[in-house]
Symmetry: C2
């Protein structure tokens, strides 16, 4: 089972590595990191560079396509090589999945038209601009598409996907090995649960966050 | 605030990227990936390579030292350059922290003698071999050491550390931006909660997992 993990400049590292860690440990998984060109790709904090092992053209028919989000997703909304590759790969993929604003890229490529989907809470409404229906859930399944909410939601999505690919026992084995029994020290993981003094300033600089002039 | 993230062959990617994602977004954070030599370092699934921006010698006095775990930690238990660097850096660091079996490396380097600490549930008992006291908690604080349980526990540790470094509001802002309101799809994140049919086979191949002949 070939899993293509898409890299682009200024992706969010955890968007990618959360589901990667779940999926790479499944029996028979063969992960390949892909980008427009092979080589180092730097994340949106500017300090973590992951190696893209292959160019998009070298991986034409992956079984799973995984698209992370990130500040740089803003620069992947226009028609081009990535969109073309996504549409072609999606024709034969078993699963096409995204984390955070990765769903906006899928939607802009035309893959989520008429589909239910989710994204980072700050960006979710934009899905409608590309013909998808924003849904307020952490992980959304529609057809062979799985979209996850912001950043850390990719771990939950990865486990759901692992269950569908390899069965629930295999998925639970991954959860056990990753010791995923989360204990967030604060109650601040969503705009509804975080204190107003935390949400307020984030909303105030929403525009800068969304257009990539400031890292999330 | 300089944060040195240690890479070594066959680290676990999420051990590193979980806390990285929390900390790299803090105001004033300056993350640097370090390894014995600069260059690409591959994870324990064999399919994700992260670039070490600097050699250990180039980063002598980081404010925070972060050591991930992984199958490869088994090969970092002997005295050598990494241990020497850890002891030296720890003398001036504000925080020295680990995820998963990263705590075994800290302990083997002599840093956790007489300290309470935790590790991956499969490896925690080994802390006692190096003079530390294993504790059954997800994140353990003792002095300026924070140790986290397996893999995903690094996110919780990262948020606790963020609170201590930058204050609770800044930590909660990171949690909100990472949308960390986890919804694990299964109840299998610890040996106590996972079904016996999942835990049993893992315990049966425990030896292979611990000695690195099989990826976790």
């Amino acid at each position: 089972m070939q899993i293509a993990v898409v890299l682009y400049d200024r992706f969010t590292a955890l968007d990618l590595v959360g589901p990667y860690e779940v999926l790479a440990g499944l029996p028979g998984a063969e992960v390949v990191t892909v980008a427009e060109k092979p080589g180092l790709v730097t994340d949106d904090a500017g300090t973590l560079a992951i190696h893209a092992a292959a160019g998009l053209d070298e991986v034409p028919r992956p079984d799973v396509v995984l698209v992370p989000g990130g500040v740089g997703s803003h620069y992947q909304m226009a028609e081009g090589k990535l969109h073309e590759w996504l549409r072609r790969a999606d024709r034969t993929s078993t699963w096409t999945v995204s984390v955070c604003t990765g769903s906006l890229i899928l939607a802009a490529a035309g893959l989520l038209t008429g589909r239910r989907a989710t994204s980072h809470w700050l960006a979710k409404d934009q899905l409608a601009l590309y013909g998808a229906t924003p849904v307020d859930e952490r992980v959304v399944l529609d057809g062979h598409y799985l979209t996850a909410a912001g950043v850390s939601a990719g771990i939950d999505m990865g486990l759901i996907l692992a269950g569908k690919i390899a069965g629930e026992d295999a998925a639970q084995t991954r959860q056990l090995m990753m010791e995923y029994a989360p204990e967030p020290p604060f109650r601040a993981g969503s705009p509804g649960s975080a204190p107003e003094r935390v949400v307020g300033p984030v909303l105030a600089r929403r525009e800068a966050l969304l257009t990539g002039t400031e890292a999330g």
